[in-house]
Amino acid sequence: DTEVTQTPKHLVMGMTNKKSLKCEQHMGHRAMYWYKQKAKKPPELMFVYSYEKLSINESVPSRFSPECPNSSLLNLHLHALQPEDSALYLCASSLGQTSGNTIYFGEGSWLTVV
């Protein structure tokens, strides 16, 4: 089983709203990731968590706030977003952060900011 589950699949939010994207895996993976993907572009790394601690933050604006409540869950809290933040947000996980550990992706959450 290599399943990463993301909810919701679609989200529309206003620029003053606060919402969250959720991600769950039960593969015993200890590294979890958030990527952002714009149309016709490759996914771009946002955050990496390793053993529930933030390991990498790719200079993401503070209006995106990640949280890893436990080893199976990863959240992305959204506040005061801009229309240009509309994109597909992908969660992923791997056994560990080091190379050689395959990264598995969820189906993504489509975010539209109006």
């Binding site: 290599t2 990463v4 993301q6 990731y33 490759p42 996914p43 771009e44 790394l45 990496v48 990498i56 597909l88 992908l90 992923a92 080091t98 190379s99 050689g100 395959t102 990264i103 598995y104 992706f105 969820g106 189906e107 993504g108 489509w110």
Partner: protein, 107 residues
Amino acid sequence: LAKTTQPISMDSYEGQEVNITCSHNNIATNDYITWYQQFPSQGPRFIIQGYKTKVTNEVASLFIPADRKSSTLSLPRVSLSDTAVYYCFPRGQNFVFGPGTRLSVLP
């Protein structure tokens, strides 16, 4: 920072073998190379991963020369359902995808 390049697009016909080559000149010693397939509105799907020489699974083969500065994904006998974007992903510390190759399989 390592720069990864791959062809922007490729066309093929059903039943043909397709080879997509990715260049990753600055790959680090410990980096593995992973390839993903992505359909519209879906997340990237793992295809194959390797470190050197040749790796084969039930859907593809991956060829990595001794200098590891490139890798080639080989899809045998493609079908219409293989139309997708294929990403090369030299798995290093920066977790950066290649630009993707849009493969169109024609009948």
